[in-house]
Symmetry: none
Subunit: 214 residues, 4 copies
DNA sequence: CATGAATGAGTGTTCATTCAT
DNA sequence: CATGAATGAACACTCATTCAT
């Protein structure tokens, strides 16, 4: 290790660098658990191990904190998804299943997926956040799926289909899973739980067979 | 009939009798639109045409009002569905599509569907409501769908399939539609809206084809 | 007493009617004593014998409370001043002295004069309050003085003079007295105090002689 | 001279020596503009080019900083006035106008006049400062004016007058001007501004004529 | 029964002050 | 000495809840 290239920062400095991330992580937990309005900034600060005042050192308001949580957790992963798809080799059916499973592993299974539930729950109270989410997350994601379906139809693998509707048939079970996981799951016993991979796999194959050219 | 001996109820009296119902109806709108925390009881009272104090005469707390809203709007729907299905004549594929559309017309398209959105949004803050919802709504509904799918498989119309998973493939787009309608729809322009019947129809047919025996 | 014409109001109702006045009176005391920024609404409420929440029932914000205090204590007295002047019989010199003394008795000597000191002290922090004060109080008051001086010049009693400047020669000692009373007076021993009436009288006569036509 | 043996002070060192002075200078501006409560120490520190922590190295609290600002800016002004007056050649009337204009140019028009505004605004919160101001500034200034008026009366130029009151007729417009400049001026359009020299001149002549022996 | 005035605990936000580096 | 991250005590304002009328 070269101390000139990468000098060990002071403890204080290292902590400062980490603060926004720690706060965003804490905020994600509590926003997801309680919703935007019911979240108290003091609780976020406490979970991040700092005082209320410190939070406002890094985020000028509760809403800015919320926006940071959304940005940090979603915008990057959509771009990542596009790259993954571009590199996939295989049939459209296989791609469909693969991208849905990928979405699950990279997003749905993570804590960050609580954001989708959060947005659904609070959109009407924070319309500008909902618009931001639509522009930055939903529309790019839809474009990805649309392209995959369109390619399948053009290659003759899928029969001609209303792509705009089929797109929602792809997204619906994913959104449903996320809602389920964050809202209902805790109220069901373990044997009543949905196995996400198994569900996505079966759903994707159901859809692929349903879409496939005769 | 003599109005002195046996007067037709005054408007006031009739309204009095309906107060809880009117409050619940008013509360449903606002809870659905804003969520639990952001709803102000005064606004509910105002929409019901009574004072804030009167609301607390019928519901000891905002939580109790919320629970009443949920409980009141959950009854009876599922039982009706079972009867409908029993009388349906046609293939399992047709039944599948029909029951999904029926669900939309009878529930998803109505104001009452806001309840599902509410439950999803507030389940973590009101676990007992979620359990109630699971018992009263989800499990009976699942049983209905499970039976339909099972019958299709047993009749040979559908290929053998994991029914527990397929069941979610039926429910997911319905739940998704309701969430979308109540949360995101206002953020999209009219030509970006989802046409629920068209979506359900296509999804049902996609699934029927995917499920159908080879 | 006729109970039909003037029925005794319920205690609750009578109190409600008095609340704004009680709050404004309490607010005047504390605003004058501490300034706008340093005044805590809770203290105002406490002095009026109500809770913090009650204050906000009548005044939507601290700033609105302050404006009400100004309106209640200043705007009316300017109008009153105009009437007094209209009815005065005597020379312009006599009117000048009389209105300055009148101003002192009706305003400068009262608690309300603390408002002028307050505005001077806090204007730069609350520009809209300052503009409000300028529009509602200063400009009408200046108009009054301007008319008196103008009339004196036109009648030939006063020599031609720059009225806009002379107007400040009339106001300056009054403002000075108010500032002195509320800021410095407590720091001086009793024999060092200024006798306001004597000072105003002498100043007015000095000015009258200075203004008088040769 | 050898810079090693006896080095010229580094910029850093020179600045270090001046830190308190620079902080006081910066604080004067902001205290005058915003008052004590609304002034943020961080802004003072920033304007002085140091960190917030450094300010507290030199001044144990915001109050101490405030007192230092006032004390630092009060010295020396009055003594100069006495010398000026001693050397003036002309009538008492001319001296009166001249000393008032002099006061404006030497003090009222400068940033230092903000101190008078500060004292007036904050006297009730800092009585010890008010006493200090009275002793160091007001009383010597009053003595000066008193002497001029007394001399005018004794020479027969002015008629016999209550000097203690007339003294305030001289001071009032000056104090008024300073308050106006710092508090209300920004709320008035440029054509509504008071021209200080014109006002002082007219006021002084008005007074001189009013005071002059018949 | 119905009202709406009154309450007060709670929330987001600010800022003087401290102290580890 | 100097820094600036961290603190926590305030404070304006909200709103579910109570209760005298």
């Amino acid at each position: 290790m070269n101390s000139i290239e990468s000098p060990a920062p002071h403890k204080r400095e290292r902590r400062k660098q980490d603060r926004p991330g720690e706060l965003i992580e804490a905020a994600l937990d509590i926003f997801v658990e309680k919703g935007f309005a019911a979240t108290r900034v003091e609780e976020v600060a406490a979970r991040a191990g700092v005082s209320k005042g410190t939070l406002f050192l890094y985020f000028p308001s509760k809403e800015d904190l919320f926006k940071a949580v959304v940005r940090e957790n979603l915008v990057a992963s959509v771009a990542q998804g596009a790259e993954d798809i571009a590199q996939f080799k295989g049939s459209s059916s296989e791609l469909l299943e693969w991208m849905m499973l990928q979405w699950w592993h990279r997003y749905g299974a993570t804590k960050a997926s609580g954001i989708s539930k959060l947005i659904m729950s609070e959109a009407s109270n924070f319309p500008d956040l909902a618009v931001f989410f639509r522009t930055e997350v939903i529309e790019p994601a839809h474009a990805l799926v649309r392209n995959v379906l369109q390619a399948g139809i053009e290659s003759g693998e899928f029969r001609p289909t209303n792509v705009e509707l089929a797109l929602h048939s792809v997204m619906a079970p994913l959104i449903f899973l996320v809602m389920w996981k964050h809202a209902m799951s805790p109220c069901f016993s373990s044997q009543e739980q949905i196995n996400p991979e198994a569900f996505i796999s079966q759903h994707a194959r159901l859809m692929a067979r349903g879409l496939s050219a005769p």
